[in-house]
Structures are given as structure tokens and as C-alpha cells.
């Protein structure tokens, strides 16, 4: 096919993926999907190979490579008709990443033939299960995490299947907005269907199929060339995950272990030796492990390569079944997707550091760090205004991102596979009985190094609920984010409740539900991040600037960099706070 047609179809497919996401955001009912955009869209060829995706949530897109194939095969390709949409969220029967992320898959027919599949994936705010918001780590099995939806048809001939819809609706605490989210994900698949069909009518089905094949080969060629630039060898690393610390749990810290073999244009990621799956939602289904691996391959080779499944072809993944990185039914998984997954990326960056030293970063905070307060609202005016007596505040928190080979890390940021933002302070105070007392960067939380790790932030809430449940899903409460090439480690996750009565207690990163009362102060501080390179090589001007800006304290400068002389600007850093 000629280059013009190829380029137009190829770029057209990526634009269609973007338009699908827009259609979805424009129809969604939950703030998570329509404002935070916690949703993704992608296009697959008739062999269920991912050919185009938007600049959406990486964790949703990588795992869709597996779940789309599983979904289509579960129903059977020959059973699919135009206007059918398959729904599924289940990690065991649908190849999903975790239960709250629900996928819609739709075949695109042109002249009776399937020319493509399109998928939309959205984070449903509540899918039932043990706790409001469906985000608790201390569960015994996947059933406690919410409704399990195997691949089933939710639409036939563009009409909803009422029975299935009713069953799903009944299983969410937020069923009204969920119904809108379902329409939205359907609308996304509908737009994708129409646009791809139009492309096929304009350029011919054969041209579209050929462009898809060529586009996959094209990205594969580019990634192979990029892998070739990595020195051959076997690169290994191992680390321990944080344990679940809840009443009734034996603290287990499963080992994460990898051997990465780089052989010319090919990479093998062998996770053999990784610990067995555990009780509690820190396990990863295979889709999550694959996604973390693929993310890392893309990140350490060339981010400008057009992303599609061709990028993953030269990558082989071995993850022992029954391990924490390829868990078997019925292990629970919710935080495998948001916390263990970034830990896998950190593990890989540590392993690959000798191979691609300039492409890795110091280890990072590795958590969405969802903190959820839920209880009765004592403010009668607000109850009237909001039309509800209970209020659930779901917020995510920003930690550090590790230092790079040529720059300091990033302060207070979401890293790697997730990117949903945190709630504005003024919004939190408007809609919930919480007052935010402080939200600030934490000095010295970024590990020292030639380049310093990014700092974490600390958000302190004063509880004005009479009583509320509080859960947090953190990471790195026990294992600090390490530095690279002599860079020092960053700080640990910390969550503290200062009780109104004067007592104080710590909340574990992976704990159960705790109860907080009026006047309590809850501080959430994700982990910091690691530095890069020997601290002795850090430029003095950079250290002095950090001191003047209060990113580091004078004591830390003395300890980490051995500098005693107090720079002129130090006085500024010690301003009254």
C-alpha cells in the first residue's frame, strides 16, 4: 500500500481512539470518569492485537491486550453480531487488571466481516464488595472486592440486555451514576465502530487491515532497533513487598524477583522465584504484571515510538502461576494494580540500571495512596444541599518520583501506570466534613544524590464527622524507595492519627478499616523517592539552592553531603512556618 494511505489510516486510528475517550468522558456520570478521565480507549485488529490507543491510563491499556482476547474468546468470535458489546471486569474469567476497572469490547463489522474490535475501560467508583468505594486491601478473597462480571453480552444489536444490566445495577452503592458510566462506555464503543467503518468504506477494508498490520510491524521494527541498543546480558533484582498489617493477618512480605535477559532484539522477563500469592489485595493477575513489564520496556527504549502491541512482540514474560505476580483464583487483587504494579516497575528499573543507566530513575513512591473517609454528615445544611446523609470522600495523594540521570526527581506527583489527580482543598471542605489543615512538601523526603529524589507531600485532615471509617491503600511503609548508582533512599509512607483526646496512633500502609472521630487529625504522607548518583558529586550550588528553598534541612545537608558551612540563604529556609 502507498505511504499516504498508510499514514492517513494509521494516524486516523489513533485519532479515533482519542475521539472514543472524548465520547466516553462527555457521557459519564461519575466525577472519576467524566472529570478525572479515569478511563481509556483502544482499537484492536481482527486478531485482537492492540493497534492504537489514546494518551490514557497505561495500566488500563496494557492489560486490555490480554482482556480483549479473553473476552472475545469467551463469547466466541462466531457468536458475535454487529451491535454486540461484551462487558467484563473479572481478573480470573475476563483477564482484567482489578475488579473496579470494567471493560466494554465491541466487534466492528463491515460487510459482514469483523475488521476490528474496539474497547473502552472505565474505573467504576463503586462495584459493591466489603467497603464503600470498593478499595480495601484487607480482604480474604476476590469476592469481597465487589461484583464479578465474567465476559457476557451487555448489548445485543445496540440494545441493552436488561437482565444483565439489572444485575450489575443492583451490585453498586452508586447505581445511578453507574448507569451513566455504562452508557458512556457504550457510547465510546459506538463512536469507534462508526468511525472505523467509515474509514473502511473510504479506503477499503483491505487497506485498513493492511495498515493495521503494517502499523504493528512498524512499531515492532522500531522497538527491536531500540532494544538492540541495550547491551546483551542477564540483569537481575529482588525486593520484598510490604506486608498486610491488619488484625488477623500474618505479616507476609512476598519476594519479588526478576531476571531480565537481553538478547539482541529480544527481552525475556523471568519472574521465577517470586513469592507465592498472599491473602489480601496486593496480588497481581497476569495482566497487571504484563502491563508493568511492557510499560518499562517502552519507558527505557524510546517513548516516541507509536504505541501498539507491536512494541510488545519482542518481549517474553514468564510469571509462575500461583505467585504474587500471577495469582490464582480466588486471591484478592485491588491494590496489585495501583501499588504492587509500580513496585514491579521499580524492581525492573533496579535490574536494568546497569544496562541503561541513563534511562532509569531512582525508586518512587509507588502508590495511588487512596484515602477514603466515610460516615454520616453532621452538617444539616450540607445534607439538605447534597441530598444525602452519608458522605464518602475519596482522595489520592502525591509522593515523590525518583531522580533521573540528568535532573532531580519530581516533587509530589503520580507516577508510572496511574495518573488520576487529587481533590482540591476547597472542594473537599465544601462537600465533606473535613478541614485540610496542611498540604505541603516534606523536606528531606527525597533521597540525596548527584540528583536528588523528588519530595513527597503530606496532607493533614481535621475530622469534623462525629465518627467515620477511614481506609488508606499505601505502599512502601516498610521498604524505602532506593536510589540508583549511590543515590540515597527516600522516606517511607507514613499515616498518623492524632486523636482529639491527645493520643496518637499510626495507620499501616496496607491495613484494614480504622475509625476516626471528631477533632482527630489524620496525616497521609506517601513515600518519597530515591536519588541518583553519589551525593558527593552533587553540585554545591544545587545543594545551596535546595537549602534556600527548604527542600532539604541543614542537618540533612551535613549528614548527606558533609557540608558544614551554612550558606547565606540558609536563614531564608528557616522562616517561620
Amino acid at each position: 500500500m502507498d505511504i499516504i494511505t498508510y499514514e492517513i489510516i494509521r494516524s486516523g486510528l489513533y485519532a479515533i481512539a482519542r475521539e472514543m475517550k472524548i465520547a466516553m468522558m462527555r457521557t459519564a456520570g461519575s466525577p472519576l470518569m467524566h472529570a478525572s478521565g479515569d478511563s481509556s480507549a483502544a482499537i484492536f485488529d481482527p486478531e485482537m492485537q492492540l493497534v492504537a490507543q489514546g494518551n490514557d491510563i497505561p495500566t488500563m491499556l496494557g492489560s486490555a491486550v490480554i482482556s480483549t482476547k479473553v473476552s472475545v474468546e469467551a463469547i466466541g468470535r462466531k457468536n458475535l453480531r454487529p451491535g454486540d458489546v461484551i462487558v467484563s471486569n473479572d481478573v480470573y474469567l475476563g483477564g482484567g487488571n482489578h475488579q473496579p476497572d470494567v471493560q466494554f469490547t465491541r466487534p466492528v463489522f463491515v460487510d459482514g466481516e469483523i475488521v476490528a474490535f474496539v474497547m473502552t475501560r472505565g474505573h467504576w467508583t463503586d462495584i459493591g464488595g466489603q467497603s464503600p468505594g470498593s478499595y480495601t486491601v484487607a480482604t480474604w478473597d476476590v469476592f469481597a472486592e465487589g461484583v464479578r462480571i465474567p465476559p457476557v453480552l451487555l448489548y445485543r444489536n445496540d440494545e441493552p440486555v436488561r437482565d444483565v444490566l439489572a444485575l450489575i445495577r443492583t451490585n453498586s452503592r452508586l447505581h445511578d451514576e453507574l448507569m451513566l458510566d455504562i452508557q458512556a462506555q457504550y457510547a465510546g464503543t459506538f463512536v469507534g465502530d462508526r468511525r472505523i467503518a467509515a474509514l473502511a468504506r473510504k479506503y477499503g477494508t483491505e487497506a485498513v487491515l493492511a495498515a493495521m498490520r503494517r502499523s504493528l510491524d512498524h512499531s515492532e521494527t522500531l522497538i527491536r532497533q531500540a532494544i538492540r541498543a541495550i547491551p546483551n546480558g542477564v540483569y537481575t533484582a529482588e525486593e520484598r513487598l510490604d506486608p498486610i498489617e491488619a488484625p488477623g493477618w500474618q505479616p507476609e512480605s512476598p519476594l519479588l524477583k526478576v531476571a531480565v535477559t537481553v538478547a539482541d532484539e529480544h527481552m525475556v522477563f523471568d519472574y521465577s522465584g517470586t513469592g507465592a500469592q498472599v491473602r489480601g489485595g496486593i496480588n497481581c493477575p497476569l495482566a497487571v504484571t504484563c502491563n508493568s513489564t511492557w510499560f518499562t520496556v517502552k519507558a527505557i527504549t524510546d517513548v516516541t515510538i507509536p504505541i501498539n502491541q507491536g512494541c510488545y512482540r519482542p518481549v517474553t514474560i514468564i510469571a509462575p502461576e500461583g505467585s504474587v505476580l500471577n495469582c490464582r483464583y480466588p486471591a484478592s487483587v485491588v491494590s496489585g494494580n495501583t501499588e504492587t504494579s509500580p513496585r514491579v516497575i521499580d524492581l525492573l528499573l533496579r535490574a536494568l540500571a546497569p544496562a541503561v543507566p541513563e534511562r532509569v530513575v531512582g525508586q518512587s513512591n509507588c502508590a495511588a495512596c487512596a484515602g477514603i473517609f466515610s460516615g454520616r454528615d453532621p452538617d444539616a445544611v450540607r445534607v439538605q444541599r447534597m441530598g444525602r446523609a452519608f458522605v464518602t470522600m475519596h482522595d489520592v495523594h502525591a509522593g515523590g518520583m525518583g531522580a533521573r540521570s540528568d535532573a532531580d526527581g519530581v516533587n509530589g506527583i503520580r507516577v508510572y501506570v496511574g495518573n488520576a489527580g487529587s481533590q482540591p482543598v476547597e472542594l473537599i471542605e465544601q462537600v465533606s466534613p473535613l478541614l485540610v489543615e496542611e498540604w505541603c512538601l516534606v523536606p528531606d523526603s527525597g533521597g540525596a544524590g548527584r540528583f536528588r529524589g523528588g519530595l513527597t507531600s503530606c496532607r493533614t485532615y481535621r475530622v469534623n464527622y462525629d465518627e467515620a471509617t477511614f481506609t488508606v491503600s499505601g505502599e512502601r511503609g516498610r521498604s524505602a524507595p532506593a536510589g540508583q548508582f549511590g543515590g540515597r533512599a527516600g522516606s517511607l509512607f507514613l499515616c498518623r492519627v492524632q486523636e482529639a483526646g491527645g493520643g496518637e496512633r499510626m495507620v499501616a500502609a496496607k491495613g484494614g478499616v480504622t475509625v476516626v472521630k471528631r477533632g482527630d487529625r489524620v496525616s497521609i504522607q506517601p513515600a518519597g523517592s530515591g536519588g541518583y548518583g553519589d551525593p558527593r558529586e552533587r553540585k554545591r550550588a544545587a545543594i545551596e539552592a535546595d537549602l534556600a528553598d527548604g527542600y532539604v534541612t541543614a542537618e540533612a545537608v551535613l549528614r548527606d553531603y558533609g557540608l558544614i558551612s551554612k550558606p547565606r540563604e540558609a536563614a531564608m529556609a528557616e522562616q517561620p512556618r
Binding site: I4, E7, Q183, L222, A299, I300, G412, I413, V425, E429
Partner: protein
């Protein structure tokens, strides 16, 4: 009266002079002087006077737009600012919303996070706290604030931004703080968040206030110097500045709130287009402005530019009413490259003005979209910018041959054709995404194109999207500067409300607007608004309770709560495809726009002297796969009412449009070229 428009861009300063007695127009282009942009602007003014033979004292009006403010933010070259926040919250400016910024590739571990606009050492805190209900939780520590002022006084800081939590609801502490700071620091530019952007969500409000502060001292100096130098040249007319909202404002108001200058350049083009729509009776239009480095898309609906109140400038949040414009990196100067897998890539790098595209002959060896247009004959190297700027066609051919054709294993012509097709597809996709994102179907719009490269691609884009009518206004290459001469004065004011519609009565609503209008009218009068009776447009920012984003709804059907609710739900339905009639609606802010119809509404008579400068000719070009020779019609020689049948080239000073065989262009009474396309 003679009217002058000066648009100071990143590379060139464009100037037009219009004689509103007979509609004659003169234009000039001079290099922008980045070190001191006033010099280039003044140079442009003198040039246009010399060209037109008009004396400076005859110029009654000067509209001025500049990209200076944008460049200062992007390059981090504003005045040194100190930020004072509520204790515990100085890092809001750096933490933002904690997600990676809008331009970061999410797979990129090396993404560059733009520097915080104020270094942490100058982000200061003072004890005070207002609650979400507007009540005082903790009183402002005035002594501590005075101590901070003292520290600032002995530093290099030139401006101070004050931003306290919930100050939009209760500015009491910010007002006290302003009083203390102004008395301690009389020479500094000082502003507070309740004044700059009285609206909820602390990061966006703080960021807007800080940007206003960093622009304040520099823009103030610029405005004073420009006024002075123009006066020295004998200019005694009215000087107004183009704002982001597409309207002009007095120097006094702009100096106080330089934030309104951020989209000053592109706003000129949009307000000119709005005037074209008004004259040609085009209700809805998509505007495509293709310049050297970007392709900018915006919308006209119901004869007015679509505005937005929230914007990202180089990833920094800014909230000020601003034309709703989306950019893609696909300008004429975008560099084309072939990746190792044989894929054609355009941008994100641009050849800029120096060295510029290869055909500029300034040593550039990378092929750009412009070079491809030269190879294919869409641009005549001998007549670029009316022949003032000769292009090196050989260099364009060499660059296309070496950097595109050879790696692809095809000929230079085919390579250039490929690039044009890919660039067109990219721009068509940008237009589609811009419109569907806002809930519109692009096929319901006309397409108005401008910018030097705009007309070159217009017909292909419109065909690709399914748009039926393309309009190319007069002076497309100088459209922004022209817009400065025709725009109205327009002032935007806002106030927070923070109550649900159920909690308000019609009388409350009337009172809110009356108060804001009184405040706005007074401020405008103080700044010396011209005699024309202003029109007032009322809008209300509404959302369902708990939603983080508001929709600005126009108030039609009187100050009635019921009408407001109806309009909000219709807008919500259009934008998000659903409404929730049972849910409480929050009235977050009210907005008042005061518009004085002060702009010129006559028609242009075309560019003076242009007709004589060029004769007819022929252009050899590659069209739809074959080389053919097309007749060339200089646009200035085509009278109103005439119709040009394709195939033909219509050429003008700054651009040209190529008509295919079945296409024809009609010149309407306002000298717009109108091309109706087959469905």
C-alpha cells in the same frame, strides 16, 4: 479616521493601517525586537506611516496586541514574585493537582515538569484561615505579615501575590493583607486572589494570581514606554490593548490586570473573524489559523467567539475569560522526519524563524511543511510575501529529497505530496476533536482560515471534514493586526456566589448581578470607556453540587432562577449528554461582560496599491498526481461579485489558494473569497 493595528508576534510585528473613510488598507511587517519589544512596535508604526503617507497626528486610534505576556510565562522571564499563602499551603503552586501535566507522555520517565513560577524560598506563609462557609477559623496574624513585608522590602522582589484559602468567599483577610503590604511596599506591584480571580479551587486561583503578579511590573513598564514613545512621535489618538477575551481594553485596566494579555495575539484574529461573520451573515464558523509553528483552531457561535474561563498555558493554569483555542504542532515550519521504520512524522520540532524552513535559504537543512508546499508549487518562491522575500526553491527540493524522499525510497514530488496529505489529515483530526469535544458537529460550521499558510490547506481540510463552505477573509496573513482595528472594547467581571439555586430567589439573583454591574461599570468609567452605550451580557457558572467543573451559562429569559436552571440543564445535556433534573444546582460564580461597540464596522476596499503591483501569470504545480499549469489571479484585482472558476490559483501578498477543476470562488461584498464545496 485612520486606524492602526499592531500585532507583536514572536518573530514578526505585523502592522495595518485602515482609512475608515474609504476602507483602504496598508500593511507592513517588521522584525520583532525580543529584547525590547516596544522598539519593534514603534518601528512598525513609523513604517506604516511612511508607507501610507499618513501623519501620526491623523491616526485617531491604535489597537495593540502582543505575545509578550505569553512569552514571559513560557520562558519564565517575568518579574521576581513573592507569594503569600495561608499557613500550611505554600506548596500548592508546585503540587498543583498532582497528576502529570497535560503534555507529558505517560510512558516517559524523563518528562520535564515546568518549574514552579515562584521558587519555594519566596513562597511565604502567614497564619490565617477562612472556612468553606466563609467564616473566620483563625484571624490573620498581621504582625507576622508585616515582618514578611519587611523581608520583601530588602530583596530583589518586584511583585507580591496574595492567595488565601476560600478568599473568594470572604476576602476579609486578603484585603487587610493588601493594606499592610501596600503601605510597607509602596513601589511594588501587589495583587490578591479575590481580586484577580474570585473563584473556588485554590491551585488555579493561586496560579492565576501569581501569573498576574509576574507580568505586572514588566507589562506596566512596556505600556508606559509605548504610550510615551507614540506620544513623542505625535500620536494623540486612543490607544487600546487586545485582551484574551477578544475585546480591547484601556492601558490603565490592562496595567492593573496584565493577565488579560495572555492570548492577546491570537485573540486579534478571532475578533477579526467575528466581524467577518457578522458582515457575511455566518452564524457558526470554525476558525483555522495556520502560522509558522502551530495550527490554532477556535469557534464562532451565534456570531460571537466561544470563550472559556480556564486555560492551560505551557501547563500552568490560568483562569481569565479567553477565546477558546486549541493548538496542534503542525505549522508551516514544523520539521518533517522519517523514523527508522519508514514512518512519516511531522513535528514536534519547528524550524522557527531562524534558520526557518530550508527554502528560507538561511542554512536550514531540515524539510518542513512549507518546503513541501514549495516543491509542489503551492507556494511560488518568487512571489512569497509579494516577492519581498525570495525563497530558495532549490534548497527546498534538496531538503525534501535528502531527508524525506531518500529514506522512503520515493521521488521528491511524491514525498512532498505524502507530507501534505499527512499534515492535512492531522489538521482535520484536530478540527474534528476540537469540535466534538465541545459537543458540536463540524459539518454544521463554515470554515474561515487565515494565517500565512491557512488558505494553502483550507480546501483540502474542509473536504476531508465534510464542511461545505470555506471563507478566506481579506488580509489573511495580517488578520490578527487587522482584528486590532475592528474589535470592540470588552470588559469581563466576575463574582462568587456559592449557593444552590434552591437557596436563592429571583430577587437575590437580580441583586447579585446589579452589584457586579455597578462595580464593573464604575471601574470601566474610571478607566475612561468611550461614549458608546455598552451592552451587558450576563453569564452564570453552574454545576451540579459536588461537580468539580462549572459550565458558563448565558442568562436569557430574565433574572429568573427557573430560566437559569433550564439553560444550565440544556448546556449540560449538550456538553455531557445527560442532565439530572432531581439534583441541586450550584451557582458558583456570576459573570458580567460589558461590551462597547466601539470597533470599526465598515468594509475594507482591499490593500491599497496592491493591484498595480502584480500582473496575471501562470503557476506550474503538482495537483492530484499530475503537473499542470494553472492561471494565477492576483486577489486584489478580483472585484466584488466576480467568480473565479478552477483550476486556478488566487494569489495575494501573504498567501494563496488553489482551486481544483470543479471548484470556484466568489468574491462577496466584503471582499471575502467564498468557496462552496460539493457535499
Amino acid at each position: 479616521m485612520k486606524r492602526v493595528g499592531i500585532d507583536v508576534g514572536g518573530t514578526f510585528t505585523d502592522v495595518v493601517l485602515v482609512d475608515d473613510a474609504d476602507g483602504r488598507v496598508w500593511s507592513a511587517k517588521v522584525p520583532t525586537t525580543p529584547r525590547d519589544r516596544v522598539l519593534g512596535a514603534v518601528e512598525g508604526f513609523q513604517r506604516i506611516l511612511a508607507l501610507s503617507g499618513v501623519a501620526s497626528c491623523e491616526v485617531g486610534f491604535l489597537g495593540h496586541g502582543t505575545t509578550m505576556a505569553t512569552n514571559m510565562v513560557v520562558e519564565g522571564k517575568g518579574a521576581p514574585v513573592a507569594l503569600i499563602t495561608t499557613k500550611g499551603f505554600r506548596d500548592i503552586l508546585e503540587l498543583r493537582r498532582v497528576s502529570r501535566h497535560d503534555r507529558a507522555d505517560l510512558y516517559d520517565l524523563m518528562f520535564r515538569n515546568p518549574r514552579p513560577l515562584v521558587p519555594r524560598r519566596w513562597r511565604l506563609e502567614v497564619a490565617e484561615r477562612i472556612r468553606a462557609d466563609g467564616g473566620v477559623e483563625e484571624r490573620l496574624d498581621e504582625a507576622a505579615l508585616a515582618a514578611l513585608a519587611e523581608r520583601i522590602a530588602s530583596s530583589e522582589i518586584e511583585a507580591v501575590a496574595v492567595s488565601f484559602l476560600h478568599a473568594y468567599l470572604s476576602p476579609v483577610h486578603e484585603r487587610i493583607a493588601l493594606g499592610i503590604l501596600r503601605s510597607c511596599l509602596p513601589d511594588l506591584f501587589i495583587c490578591a486572589s479575590h481580586d484577580v480571580n474570585p473563584e473556588a479551587m485554590e491551585y488555579e486561583r493561586t496560579s492565576s494570581t501569581v501569573i498576574n503578579a509576574m507580568l505586572g511590573p514588566v507589562c506596566g513598564r512596556y505600556i508606559r514606554r509605548l504610550e510615551e514613545m507614540l506620544k513623542r512621535l505625535g500620536f494623540a489618538g486612543e490607544l487600546l490593548f487586545m485582551q484574551s477575551n477578544g475585546g480591547l481594553a484601556t492601558p490603565a485596566l490592562v496595567a492593573e490586570r496584565p493577565l488579560v494579555l495572555l492570548e492577546s495575539g491570537p485573540a486579534g484574529g478571532v475578533s477579526a473573524a467575528a466581524r467577518s461573520c457578522e458582515q457575511a451573515d455566518i452564524r457558526n464558523a470554525i476558525l483555522g489559523d495556520m502560522g509558522g509553528t502551530t495550527f490554532d483552531v477556535s469557534l464562532i457561535r451565534d456570531f460571537r467567539p466561544e470563550l472559556r474561563t480556564k486555560n492551560l498555558l505551557d501547563t500552568y493554569a490560568v483562569r481569565t475569560p479567553s477565546i477558546d483555542i486549541d493548538s496542534v504542532g503542525a505549522g508551516g515550519g514544523s520539521i518533517v522526519w522519517i523514523d527508522a521504520g519508514g514512518g512519516v512524522r511531522i513535528g514536534p520540532h519547528s524550524a522557527g524563524a531562524d534558520p526557518g524552513p530550508a527554502c528560507y535559504g538561511r542554512g536550514g537543512t531540515d524539510a518542513t511543511v512549507t518546503d513541501c508546499n514549495v516543491v509542489l508549487g503551492y507556494i511560488d518562491p518568487d512571489r512569497f510575501l509579494g516577492g519581498e522575500f525570495h525563497l530558495d526553491a532549490g534548497a527546498a527540493w534538496r531538503a525534501v529529497e535528502e531527508t524525506i524522499a531518500r529514506p522512503l525510497g520515493i521521488g521528491a514530488v511524491q514525498a512532498a505530496e505524502t507530507v501534505r496529505a499527512v499534515a492535512n489529515a492531522r489538521m482535520a483530526q484536530a478540527i474534528r476533536i476540537m469540535t466534538v469535544e465541545r459537543g458540536f458537529d463540524p459539518r454544521d460550521f463554515s470554515y474561515i482560515c487565515y494565517g500565512g499558510a491557512g488558505p494553502l490547506h483550507a480546501l483540502d481540510l474542509a473536504t476531508e471534514i465534510g464542511i461545505r463552505r470555506v471563507v478566506i477573509p481579506p488580509l489573511p496573513g495580517l488578520f490578527s493586526a487587522f482584528g486590532m482595528t475592528v474589535a470592540d472594547q470588552q470588559y469581563d467581571f466576575q463574582a462568587p456566589v456559592g449557593a444552590t439555586l434552591d437557596e436563592l430567589t429571583d430577587a437575590d439573583l437580580t441583586q447579585c448581578f446589579a452589584d457586579l454591574e455597578a462595580l464593573g461599570t464604575e471601574e470601566v468609567a474610571r478607566a475612561g470607556l468611550g461614549a458608546a452605550a455598552p451592552a451587558i451580557i450576563r453569564r452564570a457558572d453552574c454545576c451540579y453540587v459536588g461537580q468539580p467543573d462549572v459550565i458558563a451559562v448565558e442568562l436569557t429569559g430574565g433574572d429568573r432562577i427557573a430560566a437559569l436552571r433550564r439553560n444550565f440543564e440544556a448546556a449540560h445535556l449538550r456538553l455531557w449528554n445527560f442532565a439530572s433534573p432531581g439534583k441541586a444546582v450550584m451557582l458558583a460564580n456570576i459573570r458580567v461582560q460589558i461590551v462597547a461597540r466601539s470597533g470599526w464596522r465598515g468594509g475594507t476596499a482591499g490593500e491599497a496599491g496592491a493591484a498595480a503591483a502584480r500582473g496575471c501569470g501562470e503557476r506550474h504545480m503538482h495537483l492530484d498526481g499530475v503537473w499542470s499549469t494553472l492561471p494565477v489571479f492576483p486577489r486584489a484585482t478580483i472585484p466584488a461579485g466576480a467568480c473565479i472558476e478552477g483550476p486556478a490559483v488566487i494569489e495575494e501578498h501573504s498567501s494563496s489558494v488553489v482551486l481544483r477543476k470543479s471548484q470556484s470562488a466568489v468574491v462577496d461584498g466584503n471582499l471575502n473569497l467564498v468557496i462552496e464545496l460539493a457535499a
